[in-house]
């Protein structure tokens, strides 16, 4: 019994890392632009399919495909912001929400149109490899996903805190007008931040390919959880998103122990509602 509990906690923490990375992308975009990006899951799905096609057609190692996924997803995000969000930056908030909803519908179903809604499995050398610590099994693919999440969260942290660009982004998210007065090119910050957030979603997409079915709506599950994570951690807080991801990962796996399979995420949604009601700033929000 104890083994079972520890096992699901470990699984929860590992998948929580993936939630964290998606949520960091979401929260970065929210922090800078005040937009909850409903298309985030669809963009993550693009990352999944980029990796899938590189692997299937080009036999590129899924972890190596990061080198392609990161710049191309950055570009997708930047173009997305520039062409669709920029024209309505001054429109009422809800119109931006609806726009990203439209983008989500379009991208997901374009994927259905192009690649069919079928589930695909990527048979990589990493899938199904397990390490054992005592009786606890650690799946290599999950470990790699967690490692990638940590790595990219760390890279993002360094960019945000150690470079001028990062300082400008943080300044813009804290005080838009003030940052502009200090000479920050806010329009550039917008597309850069959107690109970086999208790249996070893309990397998370790549990370799950060895152990998760690949289909056009794959982003839905992860991004719904990512909303929970982002709100829990405090909208706009990168650190909060990271910790929130782990917490929700664990909450989900506890839920899976106590509730039937299709209900396992109820736990995290209940947390979500409670946080929205009682602490909308999140646990780590300012």
């Amino acid at each position: 019994m104890l083994t079972f509990v520890i096992q699901s906690l470990v699984n929860g923490i590992l998948i929580g890392g993936v939630y964290s990375l998606i949520a960091i992308g979401l929260t970065l975009i929210f922090g800078v632009m005040n937009i909850i990006n409903f298309a985030h899951g669809a963009l993550m799905m693009l990352g999944v399919f980029f990796t899938y096609w590189l692997f299937t057609l080009g036999h590129v190692d899924p972890y190596l495909s990061i080198l392609f996924v990161v710049p191309s997803m950055f570009l997708v995000g930047a173009v997305f912001q520039w062409s669709l969000i920029r024209p309505i930056m001054n429109a009422p908030e809800h119109n931006q929400l609806f726009l990203t909803l439209g983008a989500m519908l379009f991208l997901q179903n374009l994927a259905v149109f192009l690649w069919s809604p079928d589930y695909r499995i990527m048979k990589t050398p990493y899938s199904g490899v397990n390490f054992y610590v005592g009786e606890i099994a650690l799946s290599l693919a999950h470990l790699m996903a967690f490692g990638m999440a940590i790595l990219f969260a760390a890279i993002l942290y360094l960019i945000l805190h150690k470079t001028d660009l990062g300082r400008a982004i943080r300044a813009a998210s804290e005080e838009r007008t003030g940052a502009m007065l200090m000479g920050v090119n806010i329009k550039r910050i917008y597309w850069v931040a959107f690109g970086m957030g999208t790249a996070c979603a893309g990397v998370a997409g790549t990370a799950i390919t060895p152990f998760f079915p690949i289909y056009p709506y794959v982003g839905d599950i992860f991004v719904l959880t990512a909303y929970v994570v982002v709100v829990l951690g405090g909208l706009g807080s990168v650190f909060g998103a990271f910790l929130g991801g782990i917490i929700i990962g664990v909450a989900d796996s506890v839920g899976a122990m106590l509730l039937p399979g299709s209900m396992k995420s109820i736990m995290s949604f209940v947390i979500f509602i409670l946080i929205l009601l009682f602490r909308p700033k999140g646990l780590f929000g300012k």
Partner: protein
């Protein structure tokens, strides 16, 4: 949100009412004018009615729900379960469905509005409630779990609200749409309706001026939820089958909200116009690309993006602009 259209706030003249009655009477003959499109027309009217339900909360009060499927599902499941287990006629079931929807809406509303949730936060909490109900419906065998529920066939039976022909459902959907249309039109002319707009335009200012914003939002929520769950019953009786995905699913929330958004949120005719454009388009593309199930949603996404970027007040906004232009022109000609 809408440009000023105070000239439309006035009541209709005698001729206006006459024209409306003629159009209404004419609509009753549509199933015989286009017999092969009755299904599309039913769906158009049903989603126009639900769109109006969403519109009362989203368009007039400015609280955008991303989880209206929770009310739809509540309605569909309430009447169906009451019929299957207690043999209660869906006519009464529909009233129960409406009541359950309202209770649910008021409960969610009480929590959300008490704590001042607005904008994206309200959108997300509705999404969360819909997902929770979706998961419960998926996992609970007593309500059919993921297999859903089949309503026992009774053939042509008025008591069981089942008909072998589509026309009766057409009439019900039509009356329901007309009812919601009238409700929204009346609302625009009441004090409550004005409170709704005040809440939408400036929450704090409305509060400062003594508007009970909590109460206004609760009233809108109850109306909105009641309409949507009643439509849920009608949908269940029409298809005689419900499952968690088609009722509580995220996609159904999108289906309900996308029509008023495209038609023009906060306008009386917006939801109907949006539905009249989108529903036939969806059905036709679905038939044309049968093997590609998602193509119609691609259209939704594309149209939604185009409308948001170029017509921020929806199709109704465009129509008002055209009317204004024609007015100005005729005025100039008069002078």
């Amino acid at each position: 949100m809408m440009a000023s259209h105070s000239h439309l706030r006035r009541g209709f003249t005698g001729t206006g009412w006459f024209v409306i009655l003629v159009v209404l009477a004419g609509l009753h003959f549509m199933p015989w004018v286009m017999p092969e499109h009755v299904h599309i027309m039913i769906m158009t009217l049903l989603f126009a009615a639900m769109g109006q339900g969403w519109n009362i909360l989203g368009g007039y009060v400015g609280q955008f729900s991303f989880g209206h499927s929770v009310f739809f599902g509540m309605g569909a499941y309430t009447s169906t379960l009451l019929y299957i287990h207690a043999g209660l006629t869906p006519w009464v079931g529909m009233v129960c469905a409406c009541a359950m929807g309202m209770v649910l809406g008021l409960s969610i509303g009480f929590l959300s509005f008490r704590y001042g949730l607005r904008g994206p936060f309200f959108a997300l909490i509705m999404l969360a409630f819909a997902e929770i109900f979706h998961m419960i419906a998926m996992g609970w065998p007593a309500v059919g779990a993921s297999h859903g529920l089949l309503i026992p066939l009774k053939g042509n039976s008025v008591a069981a609200l089942q008909f072998t022909t589509k026309e009766p459902f057409y009439f019900m959907a039509l009356w329901m749409m007309v009812g919601t249309l009238y409700l929204a039109w009346r609302l625009e002319r009441t004090r409550t309706g004005l409170y709704f707009l005040a809440v939408r335009e400036d929450h704090e200012a409305a509060e400062a001026l003594g508007v009970n914003t909590f109460r206004a939002q609760m009233v809108a929520m109850a109306l909105s939820a009641g309409i949507t769950s009643t439509a849920g019953t009608l949908y269940a009786q029409y298809l005689l089958y419900i499952d968690p995905d088609s009722t509580f699913g995220l996609l159904n929330s999108v289906e309900i909200m996308v029509r008023p958004i495209i038609g023009g949120p906060g306008t009386v005719l917006g939801p109907l116009l949006g539905s009249a454009v989108l529903t036939p388009l969806a059905e036709v593309t679905r038939l044309a690309f049968q093997s590609y199930s998602g193509v119609y949603l691609m259209w939704y996404g594309l149209i939604l993006m185009v409308v948001i970027i170029f017509l921020p007040n929806g199709l109704m906004g465009l129509i008002y602009q055209l009317i204004e232009k024609i007015r100005k022109k005729s005025k100039r000609n008069d002078e």
